[in-house]
Amino acid sequence: MEKMARVTTALGGNTITGRTMFCHLDAPANAISVCRDAAQVVVAGRNIFKIYSIDEDQFVEKLNLRVGRKPSLNFSCADVVWHQMDENLLATAATNGVVVTWNLGKPSRNKQDQLFTEHKRTVNKVCFHPTEVYMLLSGSQDGYMKCFDLRKKDSVSTFSGQSESVRDVQFSIRDYFTFAATFENGNVQLWDIRRPDRYERMFTAHNGPVFCCDWHLEDRGWLATGGRDKMVKVWDMNTNRAKEIYCVQTIASVARVKWRPECKHHIATCSMMVDHNIYVWDVRRPFIPSAMFEEHKDVTTGIVWRHLHDPYFLLSGSKDSTLYQHIFKDASQPIDRANPEGLCYSLFGDLAFAAKESLISSDSNRKPYIGDRRHPIFFKRKLDPTEQFEYISSSSALSVFETDLESGSMDWFVRTAKQYALAGRPLAELCDHNAKVAKELDRDQVAQTWTMLRIIYSSPGTVPSANLNHSLGKGSTSLPLMNSFNLKDIPPGIGNESRLERSKGESRSENILMDSSSTLINNDENEETEGSDVPADYLLGDVEGDEDELYMMDHENPHAEEQEYILPQEAFPLRHEIVDNPSALDHLQEKADSPHVSGNEAETVSLTPVESFSLISISHSLYENRLPTDFFNPIVRDMLLFYAEQGDVQMAVSVLIVLGDRIRKEIDEQTQEHWYTSYIDLLQRFQLWNISNEVIKLSTCRAINCLNQASTTLHINCSNCKRPMSNKGWICDRCRQCASMCAVCHHVVKGLFVWCQGCSHGGHLQHIMKWLETSSHCPAGCGHLCEYT
């Protein structure tokens, strides 16, 4: 140990002057290993086997171990390892199944020492015992692991994994006798070298092959494994059952894992395919690598930390025929480029927004919106004093914006969904009904729209004009609000309360942030940053923008600029720019030509709130609607699009269903489908299964219709043995009888089968119907009084 310490200090001078450097190899490398003095590295591959010394600013080729005239397959290395006790000793695993040891102390040119040809298949991995000089372990494709004593000619023991392909073997650092082996079938086994008959422990670590494993250098019960399933997992082996304590999801299958020295939670990985980078992860932070080396142009095949006690130097070999020394200082840190932000809606319109503190506090030149109800919560991860290598202290702020109970409540949505009638009655009735429903919920504009639709599409003159007038007038008052984003427009009473809340939040955040070195965040500033982002975001979701009770828009504070918000693309396909002044003018002109556009009223008005007032007086329905209903289709279509863009997809879909063919061809399939899926999604979130099903059923989109046919499995039991039928046919697996016999005709029922829930007898639908017409007892003769309704 003393010697070790000296080496480290001796290395000290080296560390400072080292730099990121590389050298070209003649051939792709398969594996690399480093000498214990950290001054030399061996590179092995199919066509290369060389030792390089690591100088200050370059690699220098020291020795070529591929000697001899005829290249033998013994040189085709799958793996190489340098003994950590004896600097003259190396071992390689050849693709033809041979394990070779090399003694650099040999005077001759050929340093080959011993040859073990015991494995029948490719040897994937060799490993020296960390403290025992003569002990070598190998793992092979043939499913065997062999332990060699270098003083003997043959292996001393053979371990059979009882499965195919050993991919990695690693001696434990803590237990003298223990080693871990990983397998192609996803298992990891722990063995005691004294007991070759049976593994000590086995667990399934990955789905698919486990390519590599590595014991933690300090915390000795930890084993990291990497697999084809793109995961790196850290297992705590101290307990009885191996417990997965960390899991990192990478983007490609993991070829190698190596714990970073001196850093408890850091681990370096490289991948088998596709991805050429080397990542260093903090396992506690599995979503973003803490450092990344991007030098290689082909997959990295071998990584090794240059020195056992030095966390700054990483060596790597690659298929692109280069050998690199990476310096941690030069690593790219993806975290610098990332903006950790999260945004999520709750079902009831609450919004949670988390972002890095610095991001929020830096943006301070915006005015706060009044009326946000929020609960800012701050998270700060304390710096771990033991972790000297923690570069980025993460701290983020989470704000929750609550919509106030009335405006944010989605009650109206649920009630509307439940009460709307969508089919089964004449159009006029449906419209009337729906208008009534909307009216009851104080959604006048919606009610208005329904009434209009009724006027347009069913016979005219049935609606008293007074009524129309009235609602029109009412509608018009509410209309300007359509474009305001209400969630922050809060009735004064609640506003006060929220302010109170806010100050609470502020003080709380102060308390929490007290110990942090970062600047204290002014909560107000903080709020408004988010606040200004939020309105745009609100449109993203399904929160409705046209709640009528919200027309208490704060007039002293008109958000003129909000009109300009452009709807985010992802919310709904923006096919028509509705909020478009020229088009509104067109409408006006149209109106002048034909005053019948009363159906259009709501929409036009809402678009251009200022002009609308003057229009309303014109639009009294003094005229009989004699125009073909098709005439209004474009207007109704625009109306639907408008609702949808406002976020009231419920309205859009309901109208779509009620009007059916009258309007369907006006709107392209894709948009319709989009509306349907949005609405169905909403309904299902509110657990309105029945309604969502009804909507699916009534929809005319093929894509939607077939939703109902997906995963509709009905599990049945055999009528004889009463056990579940797993079979797809008509024969029960277990009792080997036909399960579904008709109780009347005693034939197998294929097709519609009806059965009594009481006695579970049944049969062909027709037969049972006929039978029960004349008899009330079960046709099977069980005495049950069956009923067919």
Binding site: A78, H276, V299, G751
Partner: protein
């Protein structure tokens, strides 16, 4: 019994049948199974007697698979029937093919079938071509495309080049081919589409091998239709003498063959434990030897090129492009593919699964199932470890395609695979259209038909894997 089912109803009216009626029919007939009158020479395979296939048809797992196949596609085709001899494999195969053709994927359905047609046409497999022409039309493909490759969109036509290469000389595929297809432009392929297309191509190339290797008969409905052609032109030329290895006088020799094979396997197994004297150089030469020897194993009678039926020919451009031996003397051989440098388990799987989720998993399962499939029997012996034999076949097929395993002693191939078997394997793997019934009956004369089908499965999968590895390696190279 399933044959009866598909026999008794023409393909045209299959749609009219409810699946349940159909199956009920079959079930009822199950009782009188063998006695079902059938047309002469019918049955799923012209090589294998019908009884052979039906005999084990009562197995539960198999029947269940058939039912599943029937329910989901409305038929149990002959390929499925023959594969049904190995239900474990069939399940896996079925899942893969189902995903490939009928589940979500980057390519639209009609294009998938069209690619299948293109692939099968390369081997003049009218069975598969006919089958997929029908499917193509069923999923709403444009009938005009069926007039030939020249009527298909340019995008599909671009695929012709790698189709040709993958079918006959997969080792020639390079990253330039991939690049050309992916090059942005009007008719470019996306990587995900290309992967699916590649899997489709290799799948159908090797399935064509299986069809010819087992002498699969045309489906009942296919005859009379425009697609009708005898599936393998030489399925009828077999002399009746060689018809039945078991009952013919040569049966005794065959018996001996089995014994010899058993003996050798035992010997090799023992040898391996002791023998260490073989130098690496020798191993190397053994592979080369096997490679070159495979040249000589070409079918002895070079039968004149059969006239291609026009309805298959129209999907083929450059029909003269065929398998060329991997190494010919005096020619610069393409570098040997080292199996360890690009394995399916490590590299191929990862790549496919990345670009075509689920497919990697299913293919992996399928390869594993077929590689590990064994009943521990050889002909009439049971309780035999056949690992060596299976590995020899697998590696020999890969050897024919230029893939070399460092850790395999190719001397074993020579010991274990008799010449007639090698001829058969080479033929079916490289130019399946030349496979004849005589070849089929000549190898392993005393083995069960199911075992011969097993060989064909190995052939199918090994060939597919080989081609896939070449293609995927090219893609990997393109990506790096």
């Amino acid at each position: 019994m399933m044959v009866a089912g598909s026999d008794c109803c023409g393909r045209t009216d299959i749609k009219g049948y409810l699946p349940c009626e159909q199956c009920g029919d079959l079930r009822n007939k199950e009782d009188r199974e063998i006695k079902i009158p059938r047309q002469l020479g019918r049955g799923p395979s012209s090589f294998i007697p019908v009884e052979e296939i039906l005999q084990e048809g009562t197995e539960r797992a198999q029947r269940q698979l058939f039912i599943e196949a029937f329910v989901s596609t409305g038929r149990v085709d002959n390929v499925t029937m023959v594969m049904g001899l190995h239900p474990e494999y069939l399940a896996s195969f079925w899942k893969t093919q189902y995903l490939l053709l009928r589940l979500d994927g980057p390519l639209p359905y009609h294009k998938r079938h069209y690619i299948a047609i293109m692939a099968a046409a390369r081997h003049q497999c009218s069975y598969l071509v006919g089958f997929h022409v029908a499917e193509f039309l069923k999923v709403g493909g444009n009938p005009e495309w069926l007039q030939g490759l020249h009527r298909a969109p340019q995008k599909l036509r671009n695929l012709n080049e790698i189709n040709k290469i993958l079918a006959h000389r997969p080792w020639l595929i390079t990253k330039e081919h991939i690049e050309a297809l992916l090059k942005t432009g009007e008719n470019s392929w996306s990587l995900a589409e290309l992967i699916q297309a590649l899997v489709l191509l290799t799948h159908y190339h090797s399935l064509a091998s299986f069809v010819f290797g087992c002498g699969i008969n045309l489906e009942p409905g296919q005859e009379g239709g425009p697609a009708f052609q005898p599936p393998s032109p030489r399925s009828c030329d077999s002399s009746p003498a060689s018809e039945d290895g078991m009952s013919s006088p040569s049966g005794k020799d065959a018996m001996q063959e089995v014994e010899v094979l058993m003996e050798r396997m035992k010997l090799l197994q023992e040898c391996q434990l002791e023998e260490e004297g073989v130098t690496q150089e020798e191993m190397e030469t053994r592979f080369e030897l096997e490679k070159t020897e495979s040249l000589l194993v070409a079918p002895t009678v070079d039968i004149a090129e059969p006239a291609l039926p026009p309805n298959v020919l129209c999907f083929v451009e450059e029909p003269e492009f065929g398998y060329k031996d991997f190494t010919r003397k005096g020619e610069q051989a393409p570098p040997t593919f080292r199996a360890q440098d690009y394995t399916w388990e490590d590299h191929g799987y990862s790549l496919i699964n990345r670009l075509y989720p689920d497919m990697g998993q299913l293919l992996d399962e399928k390869f594993q199932v077929v590689y590990n499939l064994t009943y521990n029997t050889i002909a009439m012996h049971s309780g035999v470890d056949t690992t060596m034999l299976r590995r020899a076949i697998w590696n020999y097929i890969h050897c024919v395609f230029g893939i070399r395993y460092d850790d395999y002693d190719y001397g074993e191939v020579n010991q274990l695979l008799e010449r007639s078997l090698k001829v058969y394997i080479k033929t079916v793997a490289c130019y399946p259209e030349k496979a004849t019934k005589r070849m089929y009956t000549h190898f392993w004369r005393h083995f069960k038909h199911s075992e011969k089908v097993h060989v064909n499965l190995l052939l199918l999968e090994a060939r597919m894997q080989a081609a896939l590895l070449y293609a995927l390696r090219a893609i990997t190279r393109y990506m790096t």
